[in-house]
Amino acid sequence: MINNIPMLTVGALFVIGLYGVLFKRNIIKIAIAVSIIESSTNLFLIVLGYRTGGSIPVYTLAGEFKKMVLPTPQALTLTAIVIGLATTALLLTLIMLLYKHYGTLDVHEIRRLRG
């Protein structure tokens, strides 16, 4: 059970984020929810690469440990975090401009494009 807690956390974070994206009306909260989903994905990748009792995956620093955690998911996570940073910044910029134009942050009122 205790070994599954990271995975459960991933699931819980994902569901919280999904709830936020689907049911929150404030677009800043939607952006936050997208970030939460992003964190859950990153955590998922890290958890995938973890081996119980493993050391850091750098050969010269690992010391005498026989077991290391997998290095690839960590590299992936770093990249994903950077990409996430870019998208979050862009989302917040767009929200700023939207507020300037529409005067509201309610997602139900930002709907000039329809039909």
Partner: protein
Amino acid sequence: MSWQVHLPALVVSVPLLGAFISIAMVKPRLRNLWFATILVATTILAFLMWRYVAINGTLVYVMGGERWNLTLPSGMTLPIRIIMEVDAFGAFMALAGSIATLASGLFSVRFLDRVNDGNKFVALFFLLFAGMLGLEVTGDFFNFFVFLEIASVASFGLIAFWRDRPEAIEASFKYAVLSTFVALIFLIGVGILYGVYGTLNMAAIAKNMQVGFLEKLALVLFIVSLAMKSGAVPLHMWEPDAYGQAPAGVSCFLVVVGQASLYGMFRIAFSVYGQAFEGNVLAWVIIVLGLLSMFIGVIMAVIQKEAKRLMAYHCISQTGYMLMGIGLGLLALSSSQAMSEYGFTAMKGGIFHIINNAMYKGLLFLTAGSLFYATGTTNLNKLGGLARKMPYTTFMFAVAAAAIAGLPPFNGFVSKLLIYESSFVVHPFLAVVAMVTSILTLASFVKVFQSGFLGPSRDDLNNVREVPLSMVVGMMVLCVMIISLSMMPNWVLANLIEPAARDLVNQASYIQAVMGSGL
């Protein structure tokens, strides 16, 4: 070893270089020159890559190393490096994409004079170009995700380029949230496959693929996320907004970027899963997505009043043809009899439709852009009688509209004919939907032609002129492509389409090109 083996890396890095240097260009003229140079250079590189692949077969390029794997002292080999793998299908997509991009870039050059921050436009344009070509040459799942995100982030910026218009920001925001979400579920799918197979190399995963629950889950995530990126119904809602609000040159470009996502979907369905996935469910899911896209896309297009929004809905319906054509190929994958009976024809039709759509849909968006440039609006209620004032634009629009509606003798007819005849074998209903869609396509373009170009001239449009030369040249590139695709269909089918279809079907050759004889 000739320098041409580096082509897959070059087609990605040359636009990236273009992007980062164009930021620093101070003089607009110099920047325009740089823009055109890099565009033409990348298109030539894509063409050379296509030729190299056509002559020498699948091209595998390892980033930063000689070999893609690492052999441990114990004799175990691990696929560790990032590879790029270009087979005939990928090279074909890259070629079609870069021709459309070249046209949209040439079209956009004059548009840049009207804006203050043209440098940023050029930088984003090249980033999007690099992302699109990267999607088509990569052989690695995580790299695919990275290029997907490069392309998405650049396209958010380009869609919101007219940031003084509320609608543009709105469209970009909606697309940004949806696309970030699907990119994340794509990454979860990649994570699942990594957890099972311990590698990110597409060919290595394909070789060891044994479809179980987790692989199916990953497949669902891949299919949905890439279907959303390519704008298949019912995930198409962002597409009319985004294509309708982006600058016209960018809309033309976004069409081929959407097709790059479609490429990813087919690559995963055919080359990674392929025959390891048993049953017809996946094929039917893709076919049904295609049917829905075709029909709902066109039926919504008929009632639109805004030219670019109407064309964006058509883009959805044309995506439906490709999904259906290649979905039929997937349906026939497990039996060689069905493959020779209808599957290969359907795939030829679907792949032919990809290049056709890139050309005529791009041209339509460009004509809408020149309507906007000349009159300041694309609302069809406010246009009329432009045929006398803009003869070149009118001619190009007529050619593109006839081609997209599948009127003989244009190229749209050939690809649609291949799809009709092969889908009829599977079930007549499929062919009927495809034909009704084609008729409604014609109807809605007759509407655009009638209300935009025909009719008496209006007083408020009296001083409209034909657009500048460089825009006409941009449109001309695509127009010449359409006419030549129409006039030599059998050459195109034999040299462009058939190798691509064959490589897509042949999973073993995709794996073998990377893995050699053994792992």
